[in-house]
């Protein structure tokens, strides 16, 4: 790894937008879930476990999608220099992609770890019960797959802005991961039915819930009364994997197309 990797990691982790939107803002909602909404949760183990797992699925996707937004933004802002460094330094295009991917995925994993630790500590303090994941390796695998997906999605969005020469859309497009994260969070009240399989953000939230609680996730409307449709976990994981592979392929195609775009066309707004 070059110095780019360590500095990129350090820059990402100290970015004020990431610290506020991906960590402090979500920490506020963890406290709300524990001390405000949590007062209605019956004090028995099964109910608390299910509540914590739901909180983990819903709030971690908010945190990770905010992280994905900062990754997309950072990539858009460095797109002019990427073209130069990949031509005249030892950071070749493939090496850049690998180092950028590894540092971004590491950031996503660190943010996940912060969310994981915060939720365990806060809910333990609130309920006096240490709620640990039912399937830790499964949860780690789902987190890793989600991190790869979110990186692939962020780079897809930033490359799209460059290739389509649409700098005016940069501010809007960089926020797409956060918007989709909030849509997935809305599944607590809305039953998305088949869309729960199509939306990768819903898939991430459902997989987190599944591996944390050991139960089958539902397609949505968790807090609403009535029958719920159970999700097929294999199908959910397959959907997320397919999205990830598709976006990685699109990233490679867009990266090749980016070579034909002059740096004066990569305006930053």
């Amino acid at each position: 790894m070059t110095r780019y990797f360590t500095l990129s990691l350090k820059t990402a982790l100290t970015r004020p937008e990431l610290i506020f939107w991906a960590i402090i803002f979500v920490e506020f909602w963890i406290l709300m879930w524990a001390y405000v909404f949590g007062v209605y949760i019956p004090a028995h183990e099964e109910a608390v476990k299910d509540y914590v797992s739901t909180a983990y699925g819903g709030l971690t996707i908010l945190s990770l999608s905010a992280t994905a937004t900062t990754i997309a933004y950072a990539l858009i802002h460095s797109s002019k220099s990427i073209k130069f460094v990949t031509k005249y330094t030892r950071l070749s295009p493939s090496r850049f992609m690998v180092e950028n991917a590894v540092s971004s995925i590491t950031v996503l994993l660190i943010v996940s770890a912060i969310m994981f630790a915060s939720m365990i500590i806060v809910f333990w303090h609130r309920f006096g019960l240490l709620v640990l994941p039912h399937n830790p390796p499964g949860l780690f695998a789902a987190t890793l797959l989600s991190a790869v997906f979110l990186y692939a999605f962020s780079s897809f969005l930033s490359l799209l802005i460059v290739v389509l020469r649409a700098p005016r859309s940069a501010s809007f497009i960089a926020f797409v991961p956060l918007m989709l994260g909030f849509l997935a969070y809305a599944s607590l009240w809305i039953d998305f039915r088949i869309i729960a399989y199509i939306s990768p953000f819903n898939c991430i939230s459902s997989l987190f819930y599944h591996y944390y609680s050991g139960k089958q996730p539902v397609t949505g409307g968790i807090f609403m009364p009535g029958d719920k449709e159970l999700m097929d976990t294999m199908l959910t994981a397959s959907s997320l994997t397919t999205w990830t592979i598709t976006l990685l392929i699109l990233d490679i195609i867009l990266l090749r197309r980016m070579r034909g775009v002059g740096i004066e066309e990569i305006r930053i707004v």
């Binding site: 500095l7 460094v85 990949t86």
Partner: protein
């Protein structure tokens, strides 16, 4: 060596070329003199393959510039936008480019100390937090410290005071490689006599000529016989002559004044 063959560049969907029929060989230290907006920076972007070429080709040491990837030490530039890979403090930026481009951090610090950019600024500020003069100094120091075979310096003297300009000149004169430097200021001609000079007006490159030939040269607004160079400015033929009529080149200070002269010539 950088070879430019029949180059034409235009931006976006615009059909009007910014650079037209540029042919040149840069095989030694060279100046590209021209007024602001004449296409010098676009030429530099094209030379390192950062801009889309509509026609022609550019070869860097025989390699097509469009196909160059991961060639450490071949070209370095002082464009702030290409040195903004990460929004880190200048101190980290110097170490980043030293690592990526095989540069010499100590050399960069030496140049910066001579150009009046102190350690405290380097440790506490990012590129976008610098004044215009400090920004030029930092980018030029990073570019020179890479010790690349070709260094493209875009207006490196802009916003520097005379004392710092003369210190930077020393580094340019001592540099062991091909420097291509663009500027609109003519005073430089006195200090870089051994270099070669090109002129650029309205996207067309003229030259080369030895810089020492320019010391006594005059700009004439007529088509003179046996000129050093004949150029077109605002649709008017302009001659650079060794002696005779016209304004001494060095008295112009900035080549932006050539347009004023051309206008005066039209009126009078």
């Amino acid at each position: 060596m950088i070879e430019v063959v029949d180059l034409e560049v235009s931006y976006g969907r615009s059909r009007k070329p910014v650079l037209r029929n540029v042919n040149a060989v840069f095989d030694c230290k060279s100046l590209v003199l021209g007024p602001n907006g004449s296409g010098k920076t676009t030429l530099f972007r094209a030379l390192c393959g950062l801009t889309s070429i509509r026609r022609g080709r550019i070869l860097v040491d025989g390699l097509d510039v469009e196909r160059i990837y991961a060639k450490t030490g071949l070209i370095m530039v002082n464009f702030p936008e290409v040195l903004s890979l990460l929004p880190v403090k200048i101190h980290d930026l110097i170490s980043l480019y030293a690592d990526l481009a095989g540069g010499d951090e100590a050399f960069a610090y030496r140049v910066l100390a001579d150009l009046g950019v102190g350690e405290e600024i380097l440790r506490s500020r990012r590129l976008h937090e610098l004044s215009a003069g400090q920004l030029k100094a930092v980018c030029t120091a990073i570019a020179l410290s890479a010790h690349a075979k070709h260094v493209l310096l875009d207006e490196p003297f802009e916003q520097l005071d005379p004392a710092r300009k003369s210190r930077l000149i020393r580094y340019l004169a001592d540099y062991d490689g091909i420097i291509i430097l663009n500027t609109h200021e003519t005073w430089l001609v006195r200090s870089l006599e051994d270099w070669r000079a090109f002129f650029m007006f309205e996207g067309i490159l003229y030259g080369p000529v030895l810089v020492r030939e320019l010391l006594e040269a005059r700009f004439s607004l007529r088509e003179e016989a046996n000129p050093i160079m004949r150029m077109m400015v605002s649709g008017r033929a302009v001659s650079l002559v060794k002696d005779g009529g016209g304004r001494p080149l060095l008295s112009l200070e900035s080549l932006d004044r050539v347009y004023e002269l051309a206008l005066e010539g039209e009126r009078g």
